[in-house]
Amino acid sequence: MRRRRWELISESLVEWLIRLCGVSAIIFVFGIFYFVFREGMGLLWGGRFSAVQFLTSVEWYPTSQSHVRYGALALIAGTFSVTLLSMAIAVPFGVGTAIYVSEFCGPRAKETLKIVIELLAAIPSVVWGFIGLTVMNSLIIKLFNAPIGLNVLNGGAILALMSAPIIVSIGEDALKAVPDSYREAALALGATRWQMVRRVLLPGARNGLLAAALLGVGRAVGETMAVLMATGHSIRIPTGPLDPVRTLTATIAAELGEAAVGSDHYQVLFIIGILLFSITFVVNLSADLIVRGIRGNA
């Protein structure tokens, strides 16, 4: 009887603890939301800030002495271009690796590959940035005859390397989640392995693979240090992969430390933070809707 009571208490205790863990994520997100909005609000409603200029002008002169301008269009274009290029490289490679690891290679190669890929994920972003600044810079100048090697291509390639491990491991989980009976059925019908992958596994793991790609996008949009060093940190609308750019995150990292707390410049950096929040929110939401749509049709 006594034992039973103790079990009941510990049971509910653990239940509450787990509930707290679950809720804490929500508390953190809202806490950060509140903090970022509070810091940026003053300027946003203050009347000195023009949202139109912020979104349509490329002129980012936060410390100008004659005419301060906060135009973030080039920064937005920078973030999008680098993310787009990195996903164009990382998604095919990541999904391909996931397919190879989960379907084609032997157990030994599988173990080795997984360890190496995890190692890739463990490299700090400063190190990536340094590789971009030194090795990749000279390499791109030589290979493409580019005037400068710190550009969208450099940042995109580095971000691709950084987000590929996430895409591979989540993608592999998704492929593993497809029941073996599907594979057996496909092979029994006389399908080749490639046909099985293309016709059965990929559609079956669609949601998981999409989630993997979007996690990669999240990593790429939010990454700061590596892109700060590898993209050249230059304000311009890129016309090709060999143009240097500057991203939203890199701007916050480079300027927040030295902007006086509460100044317009400080607040406008938090408005960039709000913008970044909105971007990830939209990416998340659309992913949710897409996945729901797929499920609704099936």
Partner: protein, 323 residues
Amino acid sequence: MRKKSASIGRRLTPSLLAVSIALTWLIACGRHRAGETNQPYAHERPVIQNIGSDTMVNLAQAWAEEYAAIEPTVSVEVSGGGTGTGVAALINGTADIANCSRQMEAGEIAKVVATGGQEPVQNIVGYDALAIFAHKDNPLDEITIERLAAIYGEKGPVRSWADLGIQVPGCPSGEMILVSRQSNSGTYYYFREAILGKGVDFKLGTLDMHGSKDVVELVSRTPCAIGYSGMGYATPNVKMLRVARRPGENAFAPNVENTQTGEYPIARPLYMYTRGEPKDAVKKYLKWVQSEAGQAIVRATGYVPVVKEAELRAAVEQGAKRQ
């Protein structure tokens, strides 16, 4: 109702994204708060917090190390981050000495006073000649202030090396890559004022490096590039251009002699600011920094001392004898 069969990846998406955003922000905020954790200890071994200019960080470090040998009871903690960081630390009281590669602005001084401090006291501790760097293969040897303004200024007409009539080996496109500093570095402020003139901004599309060394590093690897940074950061892989005030006048190389005589046109004083008149350990430290012994270190780290050459030589000889 949620289906139980939803894959792991899908369930992870929102929380992982949230965590990654959270981390990004924590890192961003962490950077900002870093200076506040190092409060000086009042009654233990005196610690002098010395924060500020990135241009001066090597110099300040060298001073601190040398001073530790002379005055082992005092510890000088040096950190960089830029003049803006130093001034911010002086305003919120976490720095005893702020290293500045430009003069403090009236607004900043007012803020120090407003937060309960006395008027900041300015000490000139050396000079920095701002050098114009180009790739070592670049045939250009000298440049005028006017031309630099045409290259870097917002409405400046020079956009390519061809506009200067130059063909740089290893730079087939001829595009001029302008290397600059992040918009709140003291070097950026000084270059803007000294070269571009009051109220003129930089051209958009400059590559804004986050440190004096990075500028030189990038220029040494990029044939198309031109950049500006402290003379102390020169390496054998880059070329420093001679600079002339006006077209037709003599151009001078950035070195100690030309800076002390005032002939090199883009040199600036380096400052150390304190909150009010310095006291005790800080006062002693500043006095030492401005002495011949301290100024010999300025010379050794590639900057220009305040003290004249002959006096310095005597101090260096004395130091050699002591060791």
